[in-house]
Amino acid sequence: MVEIAVIIALLPLLAFVIQIFFGKRLPRQGDWVSIGAIVSGFGLSLYLFIQMLTRYDPGFVITESFTWIDLGSFKINLGIYLDNVSITMLMVVTIVSSLVHIYSMAYMEGDPRYSRFYAYLSLFSFSMLGLIIWDNLFGIYMMWELVGLCSYLLIGFWFEKDSASNAAKKAFITNRIGDFGFLFGLLIVVTAIGSFTLTDIAEGVASGKLSGGWLTAAGILLFCGAIGKSAQFPLHVWLPDAMEGPTPVSALIHAATMVAAGVYLVARLFFMLSLDAMIFISYIGAFTAIFASIIAVTQNDIKRVLAYSTVSQLGYMIMALGAGSFTAGFFHLVTHAMFKAGLFLGSGSVIHAMHHAMHKLDVHDDPNDIRLMGGFKDKMPTTYRTFLIYTLALSGIPFFSGFLSKDAILGGTLAFAVSQSNPIHYLLPVFGFAAAILTAFYMFRLVILTFHGEPQRKDLYENIHESPKTITIPLSILAVLSIFIFYTLPGINPFSAAHGWFEHLMAAPASAVAQFSGHPVVDISEHTAHSSHTLAMIISIIVALSGILTAFAIYYWKKMDVEALTEKMGVLYRLSYNKFYVDEIYEATVVRGLLMWNNLLSWFDNAIIDGLVNLTAWITRHTSALSGKFDNAVIDGMVNEIADITQGFGRQLRRVQTGQIQTYIFAAVVGAVVIILVRLV
């Protein structure tokens, strides 16, 4: 088991090494190396996955570790931690990664750094898989940074474009801010418990080595890493910019896997979250969900819409985890990975087609702009159909996977709100539903603008063609995987996954905090959970349908004039369109603040210090003018005498300062001799 997991992770590393050194010289630039590695990884994961299904044991855990660094009293162990969650995650990552690898064969064809691209993809796959299987936070942190690096490399893959390299830098720096939090949290944990291993931490927390405020702080700080990586609210700014990278990268890294790493981390640390930390996490998630979906409504770049949608959905997952719905959050992670990757790949297909059309017509325009599309559904039937399935899934329409997980989340938050004494926590489900309606709205806006209606640009439209097989096949596979049935088995109830394998196997881990304090962190009774689920299901269907209807009303049937609507919404529209000015605010506060501090210092230097100096000079000048009027004979003599003495003294002193080491050595030796003599005699 463990060996297989290690092999799964190491295969892409091998591919990376081969690619980076020999890639250019291999036939087909060696793409088959990377693809082969990840596909065999997928096969092995499938094997693990099937084993997991046959075992059907929610409590399955297998760990194996060895000592890596032995500093006597302090050891760093490295090891593998396999449970149902990580096996499922392996499955998700390898499947999406395999499909993206295959997809890229067509998408990246003819790129001058084709082999380099595959090398990066392989490196990413390795680090992501490694992140999943490590049994300790240190290893996870290492891989965490490695995926960050890969993300940086891949966002900036077309570094000739300024925007791409800037986006890469932005992503990297923003992530570092979050990682600082991670690091500090790590330090708190290791200081208190003395080990990085998850099991040790669990034991430590359970035995109270880390508790109270420190526990909360550790939880929140570790979560900071997730804020950065999963693009949660204050640090979400990098993800939309990251769309400058190639679309397969967006699908793989910035929709399905790496951004989910934050969620995965929170899921891994679920056992050590105190209630305060959970509430914090939950609100961050909820706010991000609503915030990002508002922005998504007005974006015109197809990938940006999806990016903000991703941010919003990640917020969902975080919110669910924070609200104690471990299973729901993780469930959404899995389903979302499938259909969001699909959405990105679908958008990539569209962009690919647009790009080719523009290239053919020699038009220089943004191929991502949905305002230039329209009516593509006849031209690209497969893309359209799959895209529609994903959109339905994302919007939370029954019979699709998204419905199940979204419903679980909303139910979970509702139950959480009910179980808490403070009614303010009803904000969480409210945010959730609001986000859901917006999600349905903007997704259908996207679908309608892209695939329905009249073509906006006839010339482009004429030259749009369906993408090649290597693109449509991954799309179809992902579309199939977005159907409810895969998640509810052995049950076939399309409205609830409660009896499916997923909910059975991915039961929330026992909270170590609860073990220590003796009472559960979040106490939700069976009944509350059930009733809230039913309620949430009804509301969410209504909400989703209303969102879809609104979208159709505005964009398809044109019941409302878009222009007028935007006029009417005014401030809100502009806020949304300009992404709530977050970037500008950062510019104004953080960047400007630093600059201002510099300016202040320089002003202080210029005004105060120089002023003082100038003042002294002025005084001196006047004094000397005064002294000039004095009786020269007396003063001159005195002054000259003093000057001579000073000069002579200085001249003597200067000889000490020869600038030659030997003199200094001499002096040092003499000094040492004198000191030792004094001590000895």
């Binding site: 003199t663 030796v669 003499v670 001799v673 030792i676 003599l677 000895l680």
Partner: protein, 166 residues
């Protein structure tokens, strides 16, 4: 007096005298080559101290490495038109003071300290113990030393390489 002691005295004399030549020779190249003798003398003394591994390392690293570096330094920094390259000297007085001062201090230390001496343990192969110690107790300094060497390597290459003309 035993033969080994006579040999010891000869070696000690060679070491000290050649060290003196290093210090006082006017020809830098003579200084460099008598440094060879000094280093050899030291290696021989190490053998007397039953530190044969260090003795061989001394020969290998000092003679085979550092001395060659120094010779390169001499050769590269002298205009090669004449073999006799004089090395100029600083004023004598500070040197004299330094020498006498440190001689007095060292003499006092050597003769006034009551050295806690242990009986001569005789010769025993030591290489293996050194290896064990370096890989065990002294692993960290060893690793640091290797990093230091690497840094020195890179640094010296960087410093010494000819700068490209702009």
């Amino acid at each position: 007096m035993e033969a080994t002691e006579i040999l010891f005295l000869i070696i000690a004399a060679i070491t000290v005298i050649s060290a003196a030549i290093v210090a006082f020779s006017n020809k830098i190249i003579y200084a460099a080559f008598s440094l060879l003798l000094t280093l050899f003398g030291f290696a021989a003394l190490y053998v007397y101290l039953s530190a044969d591994f260090i003795a061989v390392s001394q020969v290998m690293i000092y003679v085979g490495g550092i001395l060659i570096l120094i010779l390169f330094g001499v050769l590269m920094t002298q205009r090669i038109y004449d073999v006799s390259v004089k090395s100029e000297r600083n004023p004598v007085l500070p040197t004299l003071l330094t020498a006498i001062g440190s001689a007095v201090v060292l003499g006092l230390i050597i003769f006034k300290t009551p050295w806690r001496q242990v009986a001569d343990s005789g010769y025993a192969p030591i290489t293996e113990r050194i290896g064990q110690a370096i890989m065990g107790d002294f692993l960290l300094p060893f690793e640091i030393a290797s990093i230091l060497l690497l840094a020195a390597l890179i640094g010296s290459v960087f410093i010494a390489r000819a700068e490209e003309k702009k």
